[in-house]
Symmetry: C2
Subunit: 141 residues, 2 copies
DNA sequence: ATAAACCTGACTAAAATAGTCAAGTATCTT
DNA sequence: AAGATACTTGACTATTTTAGTCAGGTTTAT
């Protein structure tokens, strides 16, 4: 099990974004330079974040992105969902040979993965972007 | 983020194994049939489990595998570690351009992944094979 | 006008995953 | 002793996912 870069980059970029006043848009180019993430890849990521209304775009010169909600209201779970980084622990096939269809007959460990999923989602549900920004400014002191 | 089949299969197979008296060895063939996991793949997995002393092998006819410890003492974390399924959330490169080397300069979200890792490992650390076996027999009633 | 910056979709190299395949070795049963 | 069962090991491979790149736009401030 591992977290992919896409999810990590999304969070990194948003923390970077959130650290600036969300009155002036921040350009992806700046984030790219500061965080060392490919600009093209950032664009893919932000396209998804925009569709899920986590950020707002400002086109044209001096444009960029701003947060669409308060940092406190943006939870990690929202970010991960936006970039398709799901915590999927079970993949019991639809055309299940061995009968694990999530309903009547469950595989021996079905409940376990459900529990795990909840456990992880709990974490992502509680953590907000604001928490991360604060965490960084505290460490900076 | 997702759990891979290898880890899931390892747990499924061990729960299956643990449900039988661990006096009579259980053959991989039986597990393969019951759980619908390829025999060849199971062999790879059990080879690793044996090296980490989670199971013991009994060769020859009527052979198979038995648990090497009490089900209560086998934690999920041991199983995942044995089959190389690590919870690796951060992959800050050694030759880091942007300075996240895990020491002096951390990337904006380094602490977050550490926390997450601990959170997940906690779960795996508390859950034993016995818990899973019990969980199944309860549901069976 | 023109440059900065967003926007979109298609493409691709590399890695990981989920196995398969082949050729053993050990041990129990008869 | 022979045969069957079952563990043991290592190499191989198709598929999928990941982590991007690339090309060609559109929008808007100056």
């Amino acid at each position: 099990m591992k977290l992919t870069s896409k999810g990590r980059y999304a969070v990194m970029a948003l923390v970077d974004l959130a650290r600036f006043d969300n009155i002036n848009p921040v350009s992806l180019r700046d984030i790219s330079l500061r965080q060392g993430i490919s600009l093209d890849y950032l664009e893919q990521i932000f396209s998804k974040l925009r569709k899920k209304e986590i950020v707002q775009s400002v086109r044209g010169t001096q444009g960029g992105y701003i947060l669409n909600k308060k940092a406190k209201e943006i939870k990690l779970i929202n970010i991960f969902e936006a970039v398709d980084e799901k915590v999927k622990t079970v993949q019991c096939k639809k055309e299940s040979k061995k009968g694990c269809n999530g309903k009547a007959v469950k595989c021996l460990t079905h409940n376990l993965w459900d529990e795990l999923e909840n456990h992880i989602n709990d974490f992502f549900d509680k953590k907000s972007l604001e928490d991360l920004v604060k965490d960084n400014s505290v460490r900076r002191v």
